[in-house]
């Protein structure tokens, strides 16, 4: 009888598919890799052959240079690609541009690796598509009932209200360089913010890449050229590490905002000195995680990384056998 663990099993390098001889998001260099999305802890340089969506390959090339792998193969969403005896299909995950779930089919067995995902609308990437399978392998970054992300439009409205309320101050929004930053910019545009948005230098190449893939970001300016007073009333987007860096001193009395699912917990905001926490995440919140399991009703749930114990308990209580894989190497804080 075919068992799921014959098709996919956790190894120190990452989730391994023996019949197809490849790893999903390996954390060390391997011969053959399938990459779900471009965040640094999932997409690393130095593999032999890489299969990913075209935007993900682009992001990797932007980050690591064109020689990031010996061989690259792009797969369109929904296109089945053969890897030895196994059919691999990449399906939109809704996490960031190019992000994919990995659907693996072998001898009548279907397993779905969610990668990082969310279920909400995001103007910068294709929406998550549910795929039924015997085993659903889920992330659990926000796998605790405290994480309930609000409507992102309401969070953007809060930011814009603050800009109107404090016209003499700059609003400095911390957002991860890949995905979150572009989503914030796109959401601001949808909310009617037409002024130039100032961006930290670390975001420029990824912004350009998003634009090449057809994502509208409107007028962007480097956050370096204006005099201090000129930033009053403006919105600046920067990677989170820059918020408390000396870099931030160039702005007039900035309101520090940070767009992250972690901002749901007040102590997190206080610790980082964030004055305006924006609860906007590219990961599924508790309701999305549990709702997806309910929708798919897989025969088994495996959990790759995050807060596995709580999600596993919820699944067991709801009649879905669950197993924590305890994969290491994926950053808890890194990519949201």
């Amino acid at each position: 009888m075919i068992r799921p663990q014959d098709l996919l099993c956790p190894k120190p390098e990452g989730l391994y598919c023996a019949p197809g001889d490849f790893y999903v998001d390996p954390v060390r260099p391997v011969g053959r890799a399938v990459i779900t999305h471009g965040h640094g802890d999932h997409a690393r340089a130095g593999h032999g052959a890489v299969l990913a969506t075209e935007p993900t390959l682009d992001i990797m090339a932007e980050r690591y240079g064109l020689g990031f792998a010996e061989a690259k193969q792009a797969a369109a969403y929904g296109e089945a690609v053969a890897r030895d005896e196994v059919a691999v299909t990449l399906v939109p995950a809704g996490h960031v541009l190019g992000s994919a779930q990995v659907v693996v089919r072998w001898k009548g067995l279907t397993m779905v690796v969610s990668g990082d995902y969310k279920r909400r609308r995001d103007p910068t990437c294709a929406p998550f598509e549910p795929v039924a399978g015997e085993v659903f392998i889920s992330e659990a970054t926000f796998g605790l009932p405290v994480f309930r992300h609000p409507d992102d439009r309401e969070e953007i409205a809060r930011l814009l209200r603050s800009v109107a309320q404090f016209p003499e101050r700059a609003h400095l929004v911390g957002a991860y360089a890949l995905g979150k930053a572009q989503r914030i910019i796109a959401l601001l545009r949808e909310a009617g913010w037409t002024r130039p948005i100032y961006v930290h230098g670390a975001l420029e190449r990824l912004n350009a890449l998003y634009r090449r893939h057809g994502v509208e970001l409107g007028p962007l300016e480097p956050a370096t050229t204006a005099a201090k007073k000129d930033f009053a009333g403006e919105i600046i987007v920067a990677p989170p590490s820059a918020l408390q860096d000396r870099w931030s001193r160039r702005f007039p009395d900035p309101v520090t905002a940070f767009a992250s699912g972690w901002m749901r917990v007040r102590a997190r905001a206080k610790q980082r000195g964030v004055e305006l926490p924006l609860v906007i995440s590219d990961h599924a919140d508790w309701d999305e995680l549990t709702g997806t399991i309910d929708e798919l009703r897989p025969g088994e749930l495996w959990i790759t990384h995050g807060r596995e114990e709580a999600l596993a308990r919820w699944a067991e209580l709801h009649g879905v056998p669950a197993r924590a894989l305890a994969l290491v190497g994926y950053e808890e804080e890194g990519d949201d």
């Binding site: 605790l144 009932p145 405290v146 994480f147 309930r148 609000p150 309401e154 809060r158 603050s162 309320q165 404090f166 918020l243 408390q244 860096d245 000396r246 931030s248 001193r249 009395d253 520090t256 749901r264 917990v265 007040r266 102590a267 905001a269 206080k270 610790q271 000195g273 964030v274 004055e275 305006l276 926490p277 807060r307 114990e309 709580a310 308990r313 919820w314 209580l317």
Partner: protein
């Protein structure tokens, strides 16, 4: 309720006083009656319903969800009300979100059993955790969002473009939801009447004197001098049968000081210093602290720490408001008034005669025997000054005793807040003490976060970043060895014994006086120096 929730959320994360003012003022401007009035009452601590304890809500949540999942959540978040607000499993069928006024009126009129049901219903109706958090804070009546009642009233004053003292003066005649107040602030009606027996009158405050600039312009004959007592400023009121004791910001502390509030036999309002006075002698501020912030007071406490008022001004005598009389006239009346009360818990703050500024300076440096030795310095009041609310420039000055100074070594630095969040701006410093094995080691004696210029802050920040030994979250420990480290000259107002500090001493009002880039840490002060200072203060 949503706008109120957003206000509380932002206030709790905002450090800047001006930004807080803007947040409250805009809320009051944009929110209709009566919601804004109830919000103002919540911010000033003037809500009157019986506070609900958050513990019942834990039971309610555990009936609705797996206790293990709740426990993991609580363990992660660390705060019960916040955890409940986040995880609350809503039951469907709840209707629209309540307005703030509905919530407050519900909490005021419901019985204790009904309150729990009401709160559960409201939690079900709210779909945003920030709102549920605000409701859970509101029901405890303690918002703890880092906003004083005074600042909240100032925001209301800004809304109407009036002097905050006018609102303070009126406050005790006003009742939530303050529709008459807002009507006046928005120019829709007359100023509400302040007639309200037993109300607080806003206090007159002194400017700090600038020794270099001010004395040359001031004639000693124009000023009365008295000692500046180290207690808390209070207003003692008896009016039409109402007796009250207020702090200088108008907080009613009558219940904490029953032994003081009954001391007046005639109607009147006295301005003075609340002190612990034993056998006619002023005790330390630490003794007074034993009496402050107590909910219940018993005879044992009032006997061990007998409180009294040292009177220095008279605002009302009988039914006559005397604030528009000169200080000289008020003082005469005060002396007669205090004499007539014959009370053991009220005495007079004596005037200190002097002929010239140098003579007064000498008295300040070496106070005469008795209570003046523990005074914080000297107060100067113009003989012809009326009693004016706020801090007018000129009529009253405070001239504090020179601070104590020690050299201490920077040990830890913590990131600041708001504008300073990119700087390491809160410093823990230590002095040398003998450790368990007879060696010489630094022991922390205090923490300071001001006293330096922006330029100096940048330089210290750089020093901290370049000399970090370890990091714990927002705190860095900094290199502090006899030949490498940074010495601060720290100024402070006094010392107290403290069980909470490892060194056994706590400083009052410490700040950085100078940065001693030149001084090797090995030459900083010893704990023994502080212990000697403490012994002298206690001896005096």
């Amino acid at each position: 309720m949503r706008a109120f929730a957003e206000l509380l959320d932002r206030l709790s994360l905002t450090a800047s006083r001006n930004a807080k003012l803007t947040l409250v003022r805009d809320y009051l401007r944009d929110t209709p009656d009566p919601d804004r009035g109830w919000a103002l009452a919540a911010l000033t601590g003037d809500l009157s319903f019986e506070a609900a304890k958050p513990t019942f809500i834990r039971k309610a949540v555990e009936e609705r969800m797996d206790p293990q999942l709740f426990w993991w959540s609580y363990d992660y978040v660390g705060d019960l009300a916040e955890t409940v607000a986040l995880v609350w499993p809503r039951r469907p069928g709840a209707n629209r979100e309540p307005e703030l006024a509905e919530v407050v009126e519900g909490l005021k009129s419901a019985s204790r059993a009904e309150v729990q049901r009401l709160i559960e219903g409201w939690l079900d109706a709210m779909d945003e955790p920030r709102e549920r958090w605000a409701l859970l804070k509101l029901m405890t009546r303690e918002l703890r969002v880092g906003l004083t009642a005074r600042l909240a009233k100032r925001a209301a004053a800004e809304l109407g473009g009036i002097d905050p003292a006018e609102i303070e003066d009126l406050w005790h005649a006003l009742h939530p939801p303050y529709e008459d107040l807002f009507a006046w602030l928005e120019g829709r009606s007359e100023k509400p009447s302040a007639e309200n027996p037993g109300r607080f009158r806003p206090a007159m405050l002194a400017q700090a004197i600038d020794e270099a600039a001010d004395f040359a312009k001031l004639d000693p004959a124009d000023y009365a001098a008295e000692w500046k007592w180290d207690g808390i400023r209070v207003q003692l009121v008896r009016e039409a049968g109402v007796r009250r004791l207020y702090t200088r910001t108008g907080d009613d502390i009558s219940r904490t000081f029953p032994d003081v509030v009954d001391a007046l036999f005639e109607d009147g309002v006295i301005d003075g210093e609340l002190l612990v006075i034993r056998g006619g002698k002023v005790a330390s501020f630490a003794d007074l602290q034993q009496r402050l912030n107590r909910k219940s007071v018993d005879a044992k406490l009032t006997t061990a720490y007998p409180a009294g008022v040292r009177a220095y001004d008279l605002l009302v005598e009988g039914r006559e408001d005397v604030r528009t009389l000169s200080f000289a006239e008020r003082r005469k009346r005060l002396e007669a008034f205090v004499g007539r009360q014959g009370s053991a818990v009220i005495d007079l703050s004596p005037l200190q005669p002097f002929a010239s500024w140098p003579e007064l300076a000498a008295l300040r440096a070496q106070p005469p025997a008795g209570d003046p030795q523990v005074a914080e310095g000297i107060m100067l009041k113009r003989w012809d000054s009326i009693y004016e609310a706020g801090r007018p420039k000129g009529p009253w000055f405070k001239w504090k005793r020179d601070p104590f100074l020690i050299d201490a070594v920077l040990m830890y630095a913590q990131r600041g807040h708001g504008k300073r969040s990119s700087f390491y701006s809160d410093y823990t410093f230590g002095v040398w003490a003998e450790d368990e094995v007879g060696g010489r080691a630094l022991t922390p004696v205090g923490k300071a976060y001001f006293g330096f210029t922006d330029e100096e802050l940048k330089a210290i920040d750089k020093f901290v970043r370049d000399n970090t030994v370890e990091r714990f979250g927002p705190v860095r420990s900094v290199r502090a060895e006899p030949h490498a480290g940074l010495v601060f000259e720290v100024a402070f107002e006094g010392l107290q014994r403290s069980g909470r500090h490892r060194s056994g001493v706590a400083m009052r009002f410490p700040r950085i006086n100078r940065i001693r880039w030149d001084k090797p840490p090995g030459e900083a002060d010893e704990l023994a120096t502080l212990e000697r200072m403490l012994a002298q203060m206690e001896g005096g």
